[in-house]
Symmetry: C2
Subunit: 291 residues, 2 copies
Amino acid sequence: MQSVERLVLLGTGLISGSFALALKRARLVKQVVGVGRSIENLTRALELGVVDAYLTDAAAAVRGADLVLLGTPVGQMGRLMQQIAPHLSPNCVVTDGGSTKQDVCALFREHLPQQLASCVPGHPIAGSDLSGASAAQFGLYEGRRVVLTPLSENNVEAIERVRQLWQACGATVYEMSAEQHDGIFSAVSHAPHLLSFAYMNSVLDRYNAKQCLDFAASGFRDFTRIAGSHPDMWRDIALANRSAVLSDLKANIAQLNHLVQLIEQDQALALTEYIQRASQARIEWGQPKKE
Amino acid sequence: MQSVERLVLLGTGLISGSFALALKRARLVKQVVGVGRSIENLTRALELGVVDAYLTDAAAAVRGADLVLLGTPVGQMGRLMQQIAPHLSPNCVVTDGGSTKQDVCALFREHLPQQLASCVPGHPIAGSDLSGASAAQFGLYEGRRVVLTPLSENNVEAIERVRQLWQACGATVYEMSAEQHDGIFSAVSHAPHLLSFAYMNSVLDRYNAKQCLDFAASGFRDFTRIAGSHPDMWRDIALANRSAVLSDLKANIAQLNHLVQLIEQDQALALTEYIQRASQARIEWGQPKKE
């Protein structure tokens, strides 16, 4: 496979940094340039060998690049696309690591109309409550999934290029429509994050919140792990994937109203069946971790 | 400390079995008798050395016992107390491992009125999605918390006896009222379990449930771990701690309605603050696990 000559990371964090490290290990990239707003984070990325150089100016960075990865929260991507639009080489492949895809497709169409043949939206499924360049790791994508949601304007070579690079990182690559993607990931990722934030805030609202937190144990720990996630990123996701997310939150409210009714009416049998359905499906999905 | 002569486990599972194993290791128990409904589970308990003998008749088992631990789901405890009531030695200490305490206090008062001086309600905080005697382990209670919610009728010696035995298992023992206990554990354990069941069922209700589960990753895994818990046990808890649980579920519905509103109205700043509050509190509570 042909190496990437100059890979530019717009946003140098866990997702983009781990992509760069994996390509470096596979000897599939010659130069990695990091762009970001925090000099501290960029310096750390340089020290750790995640990038070979850094710049704070996205426009200057993408000159001569043959691959650009947008690795920021989705809310920052439009502005970055605007900045880089006049400076991209015609054959430069642009991809992203955003958790929502319909909005990224729309941003590509709005800001990079001349580049659409080689703008391939993507979503590596390797989220974490960790962030920043210091969280980047070589093996993050090994055995993970990456979803590409190609634009109808994409040329086949650009899609293949992005697919092969992710495969070289150890990931399995899937293709689907952006709409399908956003529905699935609202269900299994965006909604649970929002539910976990809401639950955490409901505990904080209690008069005895501190005492409650003192007695919280392993169930609480796992249920709320994702409540520690990055606020800006998750605000962007909630707003970007609004329609799917709202539909899932409302479905959850309906579930909770039903559950309240079962408990209020002391419907022991129906309540058992309700819990059994969830429990059985969760056990079938995967072995629970041993404490 | 004086050894237990005959410890009877009414219900021989993770909680009671681990208590027995820890006391055996500390050489603080001479004989452990397991009682249960599943001969397969009791046989396994005997093979694993969790018990020294087993019986299926609770009444016969408690004769001559100086310590009885009720280790079944709370829903089965009333019937067991009825069965053993005529056969308990006057000085036998009775305790339990139930996750709700107001109902257990009421059951003690209803079924063991002559024994109340030595019936000490307790809750070892070491839940797991695992269950059964084969899940029992020596070290389960090391560094864990046990909450006792003594009855006003208890004599000090009985409370001290139970406290010291749990301490010998490696646990730190707290005392509070049963009402206080049930409020706290609804908040940090019962409500999250029910929220996780409800979320899981909302995913199963989707037309593309299977595909969603295929793409679910680590956030989903941790958020739903407790959804794999035991249906009978959690039905009992939901019904036993009804008032606290309903209040918490309704508080969560209110949180979700508020969140829906923030997203519908595109209130980016308020949404960021909402998420920040949850995220910061979760990070302060404990370091998130690294993937």
